[in-house]
């Protein structure tokens, strides 16, 4: 029995091509049925994410199976399928790397494992996950877990939003009862606010020079808008201040924050300055209870996380290699008459 992997991903196909090949969850059972009816194919799983569409199949004749897959996908999309393909044991290694996040656009991202599990579960429900596929995917989940726990491949945040979230968590711990004040209604501050909301931040206040834009953004993120003249009063209630205005001078200064910090007791203030030129005077970082980070520092932290992850790739590969060996032994044992008896 051979394991075959065929597909397209972010490295081999542009987004407009990937869009055409993407498989919605409700379309998957029909496609799986078509794929497993290809001559020589005994089982199939389809993994479709924003960065890849891949078919994993158990087959006695990979060449014929690949040809069949190309025809099915071309008929479905009207495009010639630019599929890359891997045979055993490379297909096994590829799945293990994909599930571990090593083949992702952002190395070490963990969302992919959930997507692989979903793909396997859809195939199981459709009845196209055979014993070999079952063993292969269970092994892949185990590998992904080992890679995650035994290496630092998932270490640190890798985007400005996730860095802001991690810093906020290292200041406040639980983010659920925190209040965010957005100064300026730019796209990057909106994304950062949404990242914080995704981790539990409930209350947001938006202040912008154009009140209408503040009101619009407040409506979108479920917050409240205030006039720009009142932001310095609102900061007294805020735990996190995200600033991204086009102001000429410094808006957030030690003079403005000193009275605010005096009345806050032990409560800290996290200032995220996303504006260029900067809105916050760097001197506020020296004030007790104030933590300031700007675009440069956030991007630097994200870049360093990626460097750490990159350094871990070699360890992950060797871990995966040992698991590929283990799986191949199992696969070969299926053909061993001693074992079958």
């Amino acid at each position: 029995m051979n394991i075959l992997c065929a597909g397209i991903n972010h490295r081999t196909a542009r987004l407009d091509v990937r869009e055409r090949f993407a498989v919605a969850t409700e379309e998957a059972p029909a496609l799986l049925s078509d794929l497993s009816s290809v001559e020589g194919v005994s089982g199939a799983v389809v993994l479709s994410t924003c960065n890849r569409v891949e078919i994993y199949a158990s087959s006695l004749c990979p060449v014929r199976a690949l040809d069949g897959f190309r025809k099915i996908l071309s008929a479905r999309t009207g495009l010639e399928a630019p599929l890359y393909h891997h045979d055993t044991p490379y297909a096994v290694r590829h799945l293990f790397r994909v599930a571990s996040g090593l083949d992702s656009m952002v190395i070490g991202e963990t969302e992919i494992l959930g997507q692989v599990k979903k793909a396997y579960s859809v195939a199981s429900e459709a009845g196209t996950a055979t014993r070999t596929m079952h063993k292969l995917f269970q092994h892949a989940f185990h590998v992904a877990k080992s890679v995650r726990t035994e290496t630092q491949i998932t270490s640190g945040p890798t985007s400005v939003g996730s860095v802001a979230v991690e810093l906020a968590e290292k200041i406040f711990g639980d983010l659920r009862h925190l209040r965010v004040l957005l100064l300026g209604a730019g796209e990057i501050s909106e994304r950062t606010a949404r990242s914080l909301q995704s981790r539990g931040v409930r209350s947001s206040v938006v202040s912008n020079r154009t009140y209408e834009r503040a009101a619009q953004l407040a409506a979108e993120i479920g917050g409240m808008a205030i006039h720009f003249d009142h932001w310095d009063k609102a900061v007294a209630d805020a735990d996190i201040l995200i600033s991204s205005t086009n102001a000429d001078g410094r808006l957030v200064t030690p003079e403005k924050l000193a009275p605010v910090m005096k009345g806050r007791g032990e409560r800290s203030l996290f200032v995220i300055d996303l504006a260029v030129p900067r809105d916050a005077d760097p001197a506020i970082n020296d004030m007790e209870g104030v933590f300031l980070h700007d675009v440069d520092s956030l991007q630097q932290i994200a870049a360093e996380s990626l460097v750490i992850r990159q350094r871990e790739v070699e360890r992950c590969e060797s871990l995966i290699e040992s698991h590929v060996g283990g799986f191949m032994k199992w696969l070969q044992s299926l053909h061993d008459p001693e074992w079958q008896r």
Partner: protein
């Protein structure tokens, strides 16, 4: 036998320290079980050492400065096991192990000196001394939490936080821990002092003055901190400074105790 227990416990703390340093150096630190297990084993062996010694002396084994240091280290380790693990303060074990190891090493190298003649005679003195050391265990751990707070605060204010940043708990958790340990230590310290005043044995005035100085410093620190007059950073610094001062005064107080 007691010497073996003491060496064994020192090795446990040394393992915890070595493991942490190695893991941090390799960038693979995973806070948790190893440090807890090592500190638990170290504390058990220290407890065994103190039990053996206590049964020999027929009194609480805090009659010489080395014994006091071992008892203090044991108290810090016990507070870590009770508080550090329940609040999931990752890395606290890594900070606790070297402090306890340092106390233990000091206990080995410092000459035993004269044996305090009064303890074992007056139960109130015995209660006073042992409760004071238990209190210093909590206050020692607040000093460790304070150090962790200052490290994490520095990391958060820095533009390039190092690897340890990811492993240290949130500053707010550390600030709360410092205050709680200060409060717990202060309450036990106060009870210990009260027991001292109930003792029939006369206590030298200089010793009372030194002890009162430490008590007053902790009372002031706690009052200012709980009322919000003192921020988290200053509370952490205060917890460290007062404990270090108490540690420096410990040999003096011990010496005064032996003079009766």
């Amino acid at each position: 036998m007691e010497r073996a227990a003491l060496i064994g416990s020192s090795l446990c703390y040394l393992f915890a320290l070595g493991h942490t340093l190695f893991s941090l150096f390799k960038g693979r630190f995973r806070p948790g079980r190893f440090n807890v297990a090592a500190v638990a084993a170290g504390a058990s062996l220290q407890g065994w050492y103190l039990t053996l010694l206590g049964s020999q002396l027929h009194a609480c084994p805090i009659r010489t400065l080395p014994q006091v240091l071992v008892f203090l280290g044991w108290s810090i380790a016990l507070f870590y096991l009770a508080i550090g693990t329940s609040y999931r303060l990752s890395l606290m074990g890594a900070f606790t192990a070297p402090v306890v190891l340092l106390l233990q090493v000091a206990a080995v190298f410092i000459p035993a000196g004269e044996i305090d003649p009064v303890r074992g005679v007056d139960p109130w003195i015995e209660t006073h001394a042992s409760l004071s050391l238990v209190a210093y265990g909590a206050l020692g751990l607040s000093c460790i939490a304070g150090l962790m707070y200052l490290v994490q605060e520095r990391q958060l204010k820095s533009r390039r936080p190092s690897a340890i940043f990811h492993d240290l708990p949130p500053v707010i958790t550390l600030a709360v821990t410092v205050r709680r340990l200060l409060l717990a230590g202060f309450v036990v310290l106060t009870i210990g002092f009260a027991a001292g005043f109930l003792a029939r044995t006369p206590i030298p005035n200089v010793k009372i003055c030194f002890s009162a100085l430490i008590w007053l410093l902790y009372a002031g620190l706690l009052a200012d901190s709980l009322s919000g007059r003192l921020g988290n950073r200053r509370t952490a610094q205060g917890a460290m400074l007062v404990f270090l001062l108490a540690l420096l005064l410990l040999p003096v107080i011990q010496r005064l105790s032996t003079l009766g």
